[in-house]
Amino acid sequence: MSGVSARALDVVGTVVRLGLAAVWLVAGGLKAADPAQTYLAVQAYQVLPGGVVSSVAAVLPFVEIGLGLVVLAGVGTRLAAALSGLLLVVFMAGVAQVWARGLTIDCGCFGGGGQVAADRTAYGLELARDTGFLLLAGWLLIRPGSYLGLDRALVRGGPVAVDASQ
């Protein structure tokens, strides 16, 4: 990474962080706005027992919104990135198993979801998109540094900020 200044990488990190935050906030917001549709979307994966579908559908939108807020605030970026990546891997596993079993659903990633006609499935595209999001999370996990986040303010103001050079 020599030759690329830390400042430039921080700018990239900022764009990546705000991008990932937007993904979670939009995805969670659309799901929270239509709980009935979210229930159908979760059910369509046919992995969870009946009673659990309802709970997952109720909680999931707010987990996404919560992650979005945390990533947006830039607090605990590394942990938030790890949790984001974990959730994305779970989603991708869900889509992959549906694809492998030959079910025909919309992933319901950004609202919508549920069963669709066979010619309306887009598993490849959905997985590719999630892979893109996973790369965003991966960047922040490896290099969480960015501007406009609370992590730096915390470090400066917090007890760790004893500069040995002074």
Partner: protein
């Protein structure tokens, strides 16, 4: 160790410390600040999920009571093997309607054709076999509305209020993925429409549940009911037959054909 060496070493240590602090600044992933940040993540997530779930519970209450729709029917209604048979036995044309009270396109079919069907029933041109099925039993939250409603429909036929009961359940149809009408509401609707006391126990005890399920599996295994869809041929609701022949009522041509088949012009 000479003096200059010691200074050098101290300087080196100081540089290393400064590098470490800079690294910590960049990531906030280490030290006490990192722990605070991690706690903040957990707390924010917990609060957002807690508040969100709590708020949306309050926002999606159970449905309001079923609005009673009164249909004045002068034709006989009978129950045979889990099927409601409406209309004069002498009617020249027979219609079979396979429906689910939770299915949105059944609602669309009903709202488009219910008045034509009522006229044809009243005029004695047709008899209608209503096969009310639990195809979408798991599509309500909590699951089960399809079966409860189908059973209640059969109970309503037994109680002599079927045409009104059937129309009422489609008047403000519950949404797929959302709550269905409760057993209390299904029972209250029968009461509002003048069903006798046995209606409520019939509805609550699921008297016709087994027959509804049997009807569904019979329909799913009946080759003449399969329709070619984008997922290959399969059974779905609504499926409508006129004199045993499948009419694709969901497309405009089939819909017009259905109206024509039960119209006075088509009756000998």
């Amino acid at each position: 160790m000479g003096h200059s060496q010691r200074v050098k070493r101290a300087k080196k240590a100081s540089q290393a410390g400064s590098r470490a602090v800079n690294a910590a600044r960049r990531s906030a992933g280490s030290g006490r600040a990192g722990i605070y940040a991690g706690l903040a993540v957990i707390v924010v997530l917990g609060v957002v999920v807690g508040l969100g779930v709590w708020a949306s519970r309050g926002r999606t209450p159970t449905l309001a009571a079923v609005p009673p729709v009164r249909v004045s029917a002068t034709y006989p209604v009978d129950v045979r093997d889990g099927v409601v048979v409406a209309g004069q036995p002498s009617a020249p044309t027979s219609v079979d309607a396979y429906e689910d009270f939770l299915c949105p396109i059944c609602d669309a079919f009903e709202s488009q054709h219910a008045s034509t069907i009522q006229q044809a029933l009243t005029a004695g041109r047709i008899s209608v076999h209503y096969h009310m099925l639990n195809l979408l039993e798991d599509r309500s939250n909590p699951p089960g509305y399809s079966l409860q409603a189908a059973n209640a429909g059969l109970c309503a036929a037994q109680a002599g209020v079927f045409p009104s009961y059937h129309a009422s359940l489609y008047a403000k149809q519950p949404q797929e993925g959302g709550p269905g009408y409760t057993l209390d509401q299904l029972a209250a609707l029968g009461h509002a429409l003048g069903a006798g006391t046995s209606f409520e126990s019939c509805t609550r005890s699921g008297t016709y549940d087994a027959q509804v399920k049997a009807q569904l599996s019979a329909a799913e295994n009946n080759q003449t009911l399969l329709q070619q869809g984008p997922n290959g041929s399969s059974f779905g609701t609504p499926t409508v037959l006129v004199n045993g022949k499948l009419i694709p009522v969901l497309n405009p041509t089939g819909s017009a054909q259905f109206d024509q088949l039960i119209s006075p012009a088509n009756t000998p």
